[in-house]
């Protein structure tokens, strides 16, 4: 099942890429890459400019498979994102399982915004994704809007794997930075009395400061 997912990711890239970029991608899919983390990191970075923001064409069956695998909005993924997800899943497949958390963490720490976003959006596709929860929680502390959106929005990972404390902080931070909380996947299922209390306190703090309360706060309060 997992290997067929990586093949699907790769085929989306190969179908959508221009000839030269496709060649480059094929050359970088070798499993030996994972053993050389510098080469792997270069390939992971290079996927950005070589494959870029091109929109892949994906049939409805494949879209359904991607959704089933946990992607919330696969139709909005661009080629570079699919390529990075494929490279990452491949690399982990070639590494001993106990090295996975460190490998992903190092890749994240040395990545630029887009690389970090691609990792966060791909977490749900990785084997035993619960092992990456520390990284995902750390990512929520970012001040970089794109990175925060990558973990907080259209991503089922937090609702699936975060403890209440971390999930609640994510939701309040979304209000704080002006992100519509409707974009947080699985919010409805994760609402608790504590999260409602935090949202109500946030509204109260805003009112005391003479400031507007986010219009979508009822999504949490209700």
């Amino acid at each position: 099942m997992r290997s067929s997912m990586v093949e699907l990711l790769e085929s989306i890239v190969l179908r959508g890429a221009e000839a030269r970029a496709a060649d480059w991608f094929r050359r970088n899919l070798g499993e030996e890459l994972a053993s050389s983390s510098t080469r792997f990191r270069a390939a992971f970075a290079g996927a950005g400019r070589r494959l870029g923001d091109q929109e892949p064409s994906i049939g409805p069956d494949d879209l359904a498979r991607l959704r089933h695998a946990g992607l919330v909005t696969p139709e909005r993924w661009r080629l570079a994102m699919f390529a990075r997800a494929a490279l990452l899943v491949r690399a982990l497949g070639a590494l001993p399982a106990d090295e996975h958390p460190n490998f992903v963490r190092e890749l994240y720490r040395r990545g630029d915004f887009r690389e970090q976003s691609a990792i966060l959006q791909s977490l749900i596709l990785l084997p035993r994704p619960e092992r990456f929860v520390t990284l995902a929680v750390e990512a929520c502390r970012t001040n970089v809007g794109d990175v925060f959106e990558a973990i907080a929005c259209e991503n089922i990972y937090p609702a699936t794997h975060f403890a209440d404390l971390n999930f609640n902080q994510l939701v309040i931070k979304a209000f704080f930075v002006g992100i519509a909380v409707g974009r947080i996947a699985g919010l409805k299922e994760r609402k608790t009395a504590e999260l409602r209390r935090m949202a109500a306190d946030y509204a109260s703090e805003r009112r005391a400061a003479g400031r507007s309360v986010p219009g979508d706060i009822d999504l949490v309060l209700s």
Binding site: R109, T134, V137, E138, R141, T142, N143, V144, L165, N166, N168, Q169, I172, K173, F176, M198, D201, Y202, S204, E205, A208, A209, G210
Partner: protein, 292 residues
Amino acid sequence: MQMFDPHVHMTSRTTDDYRAMAAAGIAAIVEPSFWLGQPRTHVGTFEDYFLSLVGWERFRARQFGIRHFCTIGLNPKEANNVDVAPGVMELLPIYLEKDGVVAVGEIGFDDQTPAETKLFEQQMQLALDFELPVLIHTPHRDKKAGTVRTIALVKASGIDPEMILIDHNTEETLPLTLDSGCWAGHSIYPDTKMDETRMVALVKQYGTRRIIINSAADWGVSDPLKVPKTVEAMRAAGIPEADIETIVWSNPVSFFGQSGRLDLGKQPIDQTALWEGNSVLRGGQKPLVEPA
């Protein structure tokens, strides 16, 4: 009027800021160690940061006639970073002992995690050991609950509340902070935290006792002139000069003076001075030298 900005991250600011701050009357500042906008990946980058706070940045401020002090601590956000937190905790005793370090800080809560609680408590103990006041950051998210927890932790620490400055207060947290006996800081910041008009209202309601204001200017959209701008707002609202001076000078001097390291003796500007061979001046610029 002589002013004190007791919370401003000058490392992120320019020489134009220093010049404007001095021109507006800011004579002394405290730069709390905090996070730099993105997580650090090595303990060594913390050490270089601490070194710049007690070294280059202090020198730079002095070139513009501003006395620079700092606080040293592991900020709450990065207290969660298991790769660096233990190493930074080992560095703290060395840097807390340095001249010009006038408090432990900023410490406190961000996400209010167990890791943050543990390092918050450990750093409160360092404050006791080094007989330093403490600058406590209150969280942006879940602020009121975070302030309640902060005050409980302060009480349990055994530190005299007189030695504690709880920062970034709002309308809802200020009464809690004042009731606790701690000093109350307010960050006058564009769009978030506190603004000038709201601050005037708080001063009218609560008076000046244990009230402190700062700009908290940093690498984000912020304004290092918020203290003088708030002085103007207070003046326009008819708050007496003596009260204003209490808030923007006497109070921070009293609080950080408890460190025994707040040396406010006049230092004339001498831009011919060098720090480890470096000057803030570039080729062709004329050094300003004030008479001693």
